[in-house]
């Protein structure tokens, strides 16, 4: 793992973060720092502990170990923390009985950092009108509205847990483009979890892979590009030689053998075939093989 502890004060800092549900440990002592101004992707299988980690950051659950967000204990000081943290944990969580204008009016009074004017401006060009009841909006419109709400909050940390779940590709692309263009600044930190890793890869500055409650990868995207190499090799003889260099993952696609290497010099691999940087989803598949899910160990 790359040590990201820089001289700047981290936005999120976790040490020995553990969580048990009914005797079963879900998080096994996570240690990480998230510096400000970064866009993080927290990626893992269902049940890997992503949402529990996010809940710990957002003060929604109590954990063993230490976690600080903006210097505060999130579980003890959630209400105070939410002045500077915004999150979408579920696109369907907006109160459905409200009209859009009622929602904005309430938030203006409830949240000191919410700007009604900004929220309205983010809805310009959409089909969402102030008098519409939220329960009448489509899933995509609700996602747009929720994004407008969180973007209108002047927060230092924005956490998005599967924010585009169930949306079609058009909405998903628009959602992330809007987030990048209209919201992200150097002072803000964004943390996203999603299963559609390829769709957020372009915007990430850092990734964290979580597997069975443990962080198995935490590094900047530049480092990922330097560290991991994908090799496509066809010749069986060359395959055997390449295999000797210890790929972390190997599979056959359409008759071609694809290997992913961790920390092997590209010059060393070059003679065996075509080299490229693995996509995040390839890397995800490579690193997330679980003995329980795959009886055969990852090659």
């Amino acid at each position: 793992m790359t040590d990201l502890s820089a001289s700047v004060e981290p936005i999120v800092s976790a040490r020995g973060l553990r969580k048990k549900f009914g005797g079963k440990e879900i998080l096994h002592g996570l240690d990480f720092d998230i510096p400000p101004g970064r866009i993080y992707g927290l990626i893992g299988h269902n049940g890997a502990g992503k949402t529990t980690t996010l809940n710990a950051m957002l003060g929604l659950t109590n954990c063993e170990g230490t976690i600080r967000v903006l210097g505060e204990d999130p579980f003890a000081r959630r209400a105070k923390l939410m002045e500077n943290v915004a999150f979408i944990s579920d696109v369907a969580s907006l109160p459905r009985f409200l009209r859009v204008r009622e929602l904005f009016a309430l938030l203006s009074n409830i949240h000191p950092n919410f700007s009604q004017a900004k929220a309205q401006s983010f809805l310009t060009g959409t089909d969402i009108k102030p008098d519409m009841k939220i329960k009448t909006l489509s899933k995509g419109m609700i996602a747009q509205l929720h994004l407008a709400v969180v973007m209108a909050i002047d927060a230092k940390l924005l956490v998005l847990d599967e924010p585009t779940l169930g949306l079609d590709i058009t909405y998903r692309k628009r959602f992330y483009r809007r987030l990048l263009e209209d919201y992200m600044t150097e002072e803000r930190t964004l943390l996203i979890t999603t299963h559609q890793v390829d769709e957020i890869e372009f915007m990430l500055s850092d990734i964290m892979f979580i597997r069975d409650g443990e962080l198995i990868l935490h590094m900047q995207m530049e480092t990922v590009n330097d560290k991991f190499t994908q090799l496509v090799v066809n010749d069986p003889g060359l395959q055997a030689q390449a295999r000797a260099l210890g790929p972390v993952y190997e599979e056959t696609r359409f008759g071609q053998t694809v290997m992913i290497f961790d920390g092997v010099d590209r010059a060393e691999l070059e003679p065996y075939g075509t080299l490229s940087t693995p996509t995040l989803s390839d890397l995800f598949v490579a690193l997330m093989q679980r003995p329980t899910a795959n009886p055969e160990p990852a090659q």
Binding site: L58, R78, S89, S93, I110
Partner: protein, 298 residues
């Protein structure tokens, strides 16, 4: 404070069906039925017949007070269901995570629900009750004018009666809400944990506690325990026999809201009201800790 008021307001928006539209619909139905009864002649026997000639102003007092009792019953029922439903609504509506993303504590959210239950929600029903009284008086007055038993000179007296009865209903409502506050908080706290199951559980709870006392402390049967006696006392609104209402009902004096309110306030056990308020806050605190710790994604 601004945030708290906004949270109370959202309770009103969420539950205005039960506390505004429902009562308004009832008023419309009632008014429509009255007009219909009047047009088909049935009203004659009740309003313009002997009753108005015997004691016209007493009928105004009694009818509006009757309305007040009816609206109080409606309010008790809706507040009970509000507490059992409204305190669990965020979870049921899947909006818990949204409200938890706001910079307000769980205690403040629950307190706003209870505050709504004793302010804006009953206040709305009270407003509708006043409107229903106004319509009732309108119909009665027009009826008496048509049949010749009424006069415009009586308008001042009718307005005074309206004011007295309105004030009496208001005082009764405020005292009732304060008196029953701990029960509302208990039902709300239970609903925070078990949702709408709070309805049967809160009805069973007194029997269970009395049963436990009987089992552990002894006694003839669970309904002769201290718990049962105390709950019996605490569930009875202190507007009992030999009060102003009885005296007024049997006498000939016009209804006086001041005398009624003075009598009611004197009959209230204010120490119990204070204990009840402390109990209500304790219930809310425990419920807010449960809400804070419960799985918000669940």
């Amino acid at each position: 404070m601004k945030a708290f008021i906004a949270l109370v307001r959202r309770e009103f928006i969420e539950h205005k069906g039960a506390f505004l539209y429902g009562p308004l619909l009832l008023v419309v139905l009632l008014f429509g039925a009255t007009i219909l009864a009047f047009t088909v002649g049935r009203v004659d026997a009740r309003f313009s017949g002997a009753m108005f000639t015997i004691a016209p102003l007493r009928i105004y007092e009694l009818s509006f007070l009757g309305f007040g009792i009816a609206w109080s019953l409606y309010l008790i029922a809706t507040l009970f269901f509000y507490c059992a439903d409204g305190f669990a609504a965020d979870k049921r509506n899947n909006s818990m995570l949204f409200w938890k993303s706001m910079p307000v504590t769980d205690f403040k959210v629950l307190l706003s629900k209870l505050a709504a239950a004793i302010t804006i929600l009953p206040g709305t029903v009270y407003g509708v009750a006043l409107l229903s009284g106004l319509l009732l008086y309108g119909v009665a007055f027009v009826t008496t004018m048509i049949n010749g038993t009424g006069s415009f000179a009586a308008l001042g007296s009718i307005a005074a009666i309206y004011g007295h009865v309105a004030l009496a209903i208001l005082v009764t409502m405020i005292c009732g809400l304060l008196w029953y506050l701990p029960f509302m908080a208990l039902v709300g706290a239970l609903a925070t944990a078990i949702g709408r199951w709070a309805i049967p559980v809160s009805l069973l709870l007194p029997s269970i506690v009395a049963m436990l006392e009987w089992v552990t402390m002894g006694g003839l049967h669970p309904f002769t325990t201290h718990t049962w006696d105390y709950l019996g006392y605490r569930t009875t609104f202190p507007l009992t026999e030999d009060g102003y209402i009885d005296v007024w009902f049997l006498g000939k004096e016009p209804f006086s809201a001041i005398s009624y309110a003075t009598d009611l306030i004197a009959r209230m056990d204010w120490a119990q009201v204070g204990i009840g308020a402390a109990f209500a806050l304790a219930c809310l605190y425990v419920a807010s800790e449960y809400r804070r710790r419960s799985n918000a994604n669940g």
